[in-house]
Symmetry: C2
Subunit: 438 residues, 2 copies
């Protein structure tokens, strides 16, 4: 046997051993592990950083107006002056100073008088959703969610073997009558409904906002059926015009778990979010948080606290709103200019996303590959519903790219969409008007 | 009605509403939520930062020799030069640069040739344990663990309704025969054993190290019974003398999930750890990580990578080992000087902890309150076992306090221990020699 052959044999040996281990270990996965899926958004994340591509995929905030010098100087100061604290373990709830700042921020959007004692700082707001699922959901329990809803939350809930049941929206957000009907239907079928997961302001992916006059109604319906509201509000402060709408939590401190985030108003790179939790649920919630990460990063907590104290974050948010408003307008204008008449889309009043609907019969998932060829990425609509059915929708994010890039991206995407619309009209059977439904 | 009366009524009203909500929501908790407990270590965490107390409780690393100026300067540079990346979202596995650094660090302790492709960066190594429980354990499944073991891991596993079954140790760590017997017993009773959770080097809380000659034997037993090894090795590099012992993972890439951490070798404040995962388990593991936090903090990842590249971390670890060796020696000496003859303790060869055993019949939990009165805190032994039985052990951490403080702490603790030993000898029935057991 030559040395080369020995090498091959050793390699084969390793491969065989691994195959054997893989086979043996297959039996070790938990039931929930089979529910853990790749998020389509994350799939596209890796692709979208390729040079030359225009990414309308990721919901990234614009950081271009952040005063990097001040952030850098603050980080340096925190480490020099308070390094022994910043580089150490902290308490599981987060620092009091940051929880106080969070209460100030929430006051700005209409949650008045929240106590820092009811806030848990989390590693991004996604982890607050993970904790909520952990603390409240047994396998098979139902979580209600807007249809469509945030794909990351779907992944988080599914990891706990939760059934996510979609509830319809119209242009004013969740429809109270549809929510009541859905609850009745599920209760009649013996389901245990634990939470309503909602993104009431500038819903991800649709950009739709729950109308002010529906907000109390939604909470009341949930209260009546003993369903907790899990309100995810990362974009609430980013309303283009006027004051933010008061969150569902504002007047309902006992029935709503509110999730906020520094990712959209400051930086996703510090991975800091929070949950404002009803007093009677706080202890279990925070202990569950602690069981996962012990404590949020002290360094990042102190950096955010010091930075927000040393800069005019209200003015920065006003600037950010103007940036996003301009980008949204650029996208809406480009869509009007380049997209075929058969496509429709939402007109968001804040947030990061426009939601495009193509004619029935088109599946936007295969279009993704063609659009990558054309130099642009988006997220296919199917990612945002718990069902596996094909979707004729697509999410376009205007938040992270400059207006000229947005125009270029829409321009590149238009022929792909146009071709799909034409092929669909030519080959698909004409959709019959559904009788009894309008 | 006076305004004062109205106010009282409103307050009463709020309290009544909250009580009602608390009552209604009690039914919403998941089954696992009832298993989520306060960690005794965290209980004491809040107490131990009171001024004047000597804390021998928390397993905090010593940061006094960290070059804070260089850390601060690095943070500033990362933000100034790479802020758009550092403050943004990153990939779910962690950055390639950090995963490469992690492979270099692991090589230093005997894991050669690990691929960055098999590493997942996590938010502290506790979250790697959380992910392992999530991916592998159904409610009722068994995880084997050393007796005693890390309280944080117990909390994490219990949050997944896992049965943690202790396996006995002697002064050379886990006893292979006891492991086999325990497995046989559990299998005979129909249990599904998924993982062996082990801290082989300088076990937390006992300070005991698994002897080199037992390591392969332990993995082989687990492999034979199709049990994955979850190796938690935060202290592995902190052996006082000589080279680190090769981790269980070193020669067993397919059967061991290895957890490492920057908390003990650099800083807990950045909340960064990692898991080195067998190739065939990697995808599920990393998707589960992503479902919780999306990605680890980019800022902290880039800070750690840059910092380790710009400073001689091997020399720093050598210095750290000397610091901990000196502190350990101070503690052992003080124990010899002040503790009663009835107390025994371990002599660790690395890590952060000494484990003290008092005579049978003493419960160290109530002693904690007396010791706080005396100006010193420790962690009672009962925290480190899954059972609720009282324990005559206590964990003393020497890692985070200077030698003179250690001596003062032991001096303050000694009279409390002495009084307990005397009271126990006076009132407790003499423990009969257990027949047939030695």
């Amino acid at each position: 046997m030559t040395p080369h052959e020995t090498e091959l044999t050793a390699e084969t040996q390793t491969a065989l051993e691994r195959a054997d281990a893989a086979h043996r270990h297959e039996a070790l996965f938990s039931e929930r592990a089979h529910n853990i899926r790749q998020s389509a958004v994350r799939d596209v994340f890796d692709i979208s950083i390729r040079p030359g591509l225009v990414s309308l995929a990721g919901g990234s905030p614009s950081l271009t107006r952040l005063p990097l010098g001040l952030v850098a100087e603050t980080a340096q100061r925190v480490i020099m002056d308070h390094g022994m604290e910043a580089l150490h373990y902290g308490g599981g709830k987060g620092t009091l100073a940051l929880r106080e700042l969070i209460c100030e921020i929430m006051a700005e959007e209409g949650i008045l008088g929240a106590s820092p004692e009811d806030v848990v700082v989390t590693t991004g707001s996604q982890s607050a959703q993970d904790i909520a699922a952990k603390v409240f959901c047994n396998p098979g329990d139902v979580v209600l969610a807007e249809d469509p809803t945030y794909v990351g939350a779907l992944n988080t809930f599914e990891a706990y073997q939760v059934r996510v049941e979609p509830v319809g929206m119209d242009e004013d957000g969740l429809v109270p009558e549809l929510l009541e009907a859905r609850i009745a239907e599920l209760e009649a079928a013996g389901a245990t409904i634990k939470l309503l997961y909602t993104i009431p302001s500038f819903n991800n992916p649709s950009g739709i906002t729950l109308a002010a006059e529906r907000r109390q109604q939604i909470v009341d319906i949930c209260r009546e059926h003993n369903i907790l509201v899990l309100e995810d509000n990362p974009y609430g402060m980013l309303r283009f015009d006027g004051k933010p709408l008061a969150p569902l939590r504002a007047d309902n401190p006992d029935d709503v778990i509110y999730c906020g985030s520094f990712s959209k108003i400051f930086s996703p790179g510090v991975r800091l979010g929070w949950a404002l939790v009803p007093k009677h649920l706080y202890r279990r919630f925070y202990l569950a948080a602690e069981a996962v990460v012990l404590c949020p990063s002290m360094l990042n907590q102190m950096l955010v606290t010091e930075f927000f104290h040393s800069f005019d974050w209200r003015a920065y948010l006003a600037e950010s709103r103007a940036v996003y408003a301009e980008r949204c307008a650029a996208m809406l204008h480009a869509l009007g200019e380049h997209f075929p008449a058969e496509a429709t889309w939402t007109t968001p009043s804040g947030g990061f996303f426009v939601w495009v609907t193509l004619p029935d019969g088109i599946d936007t998932y295969p279009l993704l590959h063609e659009s990558i060829e054309a130099g642009v990425v988006f997220i296919p609509g199917a990612a945002f519903t718990p069902s596996d059915a094909p979707s004729s929708k697509l999410r376009l994010a205007f938040s992270g790219v400059a207006p000229e890039q947005i125009r270029e991206g829409v321009r590149r995407l238009a022929p792909v969409v146009r071709a799909a619309v034409e092929a669909n009209a030519r080959y698909a059977p004409a959709a019959p008007a559904a009788p009894g439904r309008d």
